[in-house]
């Protein structure tokens, strides 16, 4: 799933390890989510959104909206 995690993280000057420690997950989890290799569960997605004080749809791009935008 496409997301803006890297942009949001960079805006705060956080490394992947910083973000991982704030989320209490591994750095490889953050990397996998950022690169779209892994879609987080709903609870983790909400935790990420809450950490960045953003609505969840500002962090993660809905796959259905993305495909309809492409049409």
């Amino acid at each position: 799933m496409e997301n803006r995690l890297r942009v949001l993280r960079a805006a705060r000057g956080w490394s992947q390890a910083d973000l991982a420690s704030r989320l209490e997950v591994s750095r490889q989890s953050v990397n996998a989510i950022e690169t779209g290799k892994y879609d987080p569960s709903l609870p983790l997605a909400f935790r990420i959104a809450e950490l960045f004080e953003s609505p969840i749809e500002d962090v993660f791009v809905s796959p259905s909206r993305r495909s309809s935008a492409a049409i």
């Binding site: 591994s26 989890s29 996998a32 290799k37 892994y38 987080p40 569960s41």
Partner: protein, 136 residues
């Protein structure tokens, strides 16, 4: 988090179970080779080395329950699915070959060995497809 508490516990359990396996297997081999165990004791001594192996399956299950990092847990689940798929597939093929008398009958515990081999392959597949570190 790469070395989470759950992962440390898992490793500790694996070390103890491996030591226990050696502690049970070596005397069992010696005992049977020198015909020191007979009767019901023979069954007990023969089964003892299997218990730590069963314990390893339990330790993997325990790790899946205890691991809090959902991505790392998913990697382990993928690894176990590869292991089960490979072991069951080879066992099925071998069963038919054996049924038609094309191959001999191996000891059943080789299924567990196959499973652990598949577990390693699953780790390599995680590495190749997701760039995840190989963990066994």
């Amino acid at each position: 988090m790469a070395n989470s508490l759950a992962w440390k516990r898992y490793n500790r359990r694996m070390i103890w179970l491996s030591l226990l396996y050696c502690a049970f297997l070596l005397p069992a081999v010696y005992g049977f080779k020198h015909e020191l165990v007979l009767g019901w004791a023979a069954y007990l001594v023969a089964i003892l080395p299997a218990l730590p192996i069963i314990g390893i399956f339990g330790a993997i299950g325990r790790y899946l329950v205890e691991e809090q990092d959902e991505y790392v847990r998913m990697l382990m689940v993928r690894q176990t699915l590869w292991a089960s798929g490979i072991a069951l597939s080879v066992a099925t093929v071998w069963g038919f070959l054996e049924n038609f008398e094309l191959v001999g009958h191996p000891e059943f515990y080789w299924i567990a060995v196959l499973w652990f081999g598949g577990f390693g392959i699953g780790g390599c597949i995680n590495r190749l497809t997701l760039g995840a570190p190989v963990r066994c």
